[in-house]
Amino acid sequence: MEQTEQSMPNVSEEKGNLSASKRRAEIRRRKLLMNSEERMKRITSCNKGDAAGHALNSEQHSEPRVPVQLDKPESLTSSGLSKRLTVYSDEDTKTTAGLTNHQGHLDDFQGTPICDSRNSMGDVLDGNNDSPGELRIRPRSEMSIDGTQRSPRRGLHQYLSRFDEAMNLRTQLINEKPAPESSPGNEELDAFRIFRLMGSVILAVVVRMFVCKYLCIFAPFLTLQLAYMGLYKYFPKGEKKIKTTVLTAALLLSGIPSEVINRSMDTYSKMGDVFTDLCVYFFTFIITHEMLVILGSETPS
């Protein structure tokens, strides 16, 4: 009987040893089998779960009245991890190992393993946490955590969309031929533009011949501009090439809506057109005047 009594604990010890060794062997085997990608997946999935799980854990252990203190380690871990992930995402397994080490450090810092936190979250969700107060508080804290995570994400999305826009503009700028510096208004001379210029020239000659004795020369010009504004809609509108300059890109990147920029550019181009008309009008007027003076047909009074 003594022998049997002695043999029973030995068997149990052996079983225990066996099970322990088996467990260790299993863990080792799993570690060996797991390649870097799986590890990375595991880390990332745990990281996602960790955000909520850890918050809930921290809720369990601390009061919800001090959310700032709760958020600190959370923000620390999530930001640190996300940074690491983005930095090391394209690198090889070596860096992945580094990441896991880092994860390990973070776990030490938190005091709970990553997947444990997940399990604890599962426990909480399963209803291990019986207090109804906890259940009521949880969504609020989750919301606050979501809020802290969403705002940088939204900012990131905004930044990325703007970056895409900037890249598109850049490609457009590259595809466009570089405009020569000499011609500031390098737009094509369309029908309406030619009409405007011709009208200004004719008006200048007519004004010098007949009108200027009685009226200031700018009055007919302003009238002509008003007429152009009315006539604008009757002319065929060619496809306006949207000019993408560095200024436009800079304004777009600084958050000004493209509609506002387009309107401003449109107004600016109209002002430029009026100025060009004025220059042509004045030039023609002076040339005509000088010609008349040289020819001696008329002397200025």
């Binding site: 000499s182 500031p184 390098n186 200027c212 200031c216 020369i217 700018f218 220059c279 005047h289 000088e290």
Partner: protein, 170 residues
């Protein structure tokens, strides 16, 4: 007469500047051709490389490996030499263009400053002041003579019109 032709002088200067500016690339390339006399050597090298490549194509690599390798090495050497040559020539070309541009802009600036200096106090042309009634001060700037057309205003107008003309006919 000299005073009455001031507007024409300014207009002529602006026109000349704009025309020269439009012709700057041609001027630079002409200067490059004049200054760089080793372009023929480059052409010769290109021709030689082409000949050697043709010869290489006729040689069987397996039958005459030594000859093939020798010729290939020769081609590589010549190509490297040509590359270096082209690189230095391109750098020289860019330098010449830069110098030509700088000289032109300096000359243009000098011309404009001298014109403004000369006609600072005198208007380039005079019209009755009531013709340009509300803007006579602006138009007369910097001469300050009522009814006069100042050099700045005339320069701006001339530049705009000449640019338009060159755009239309250029």
């Amino acid at each position: 007469m000299a005073e009455s032709c001031a507007w024409l002088l300014v207009l002529g200067s602006v026109l000349l500047c704009n025309i020269v500016k439009a012709l700057l690339p041609s001027v630079s390339s002409f200067l490059c051709r004049v200054l760089q006399k080793d372009a023929e050597q480059e052409t010769q090298m290109r021709f030689e490389i082409q000949c050697m490549r043709q010869e290489l194509a006729t040689i069987s690599m397996m039958d005459e490996f030594a000859r093939y390798a020798r010729l290939e090495r020769k081609i590589n050497k010549m190509t490297d030499k040509l590359k270096t040559h082209v690189k230095s020539r391109t750098a020289q070309l860019a330098k010449i263009k830069w110098v030509v541009n700088i000289v032109f802009y300096v000359l243009q600036a000098t011309l404009m400053i001298s014109l403004i200096w000369k006609y600072y106090a005198d208007p380039v042309t005079v019209v009755p002041s009531k013709w340009i009634a509300p803007l006579e001060r602006l138009v007369a700037f910097p001469s300050g003579i009522a009814g006069g057309v100042g050099i700045t205003c005339w320069l701006v107008v001339c530049n705009k019109v000449v640019a338009l003309l060159l755009q239309a006919f250029g």
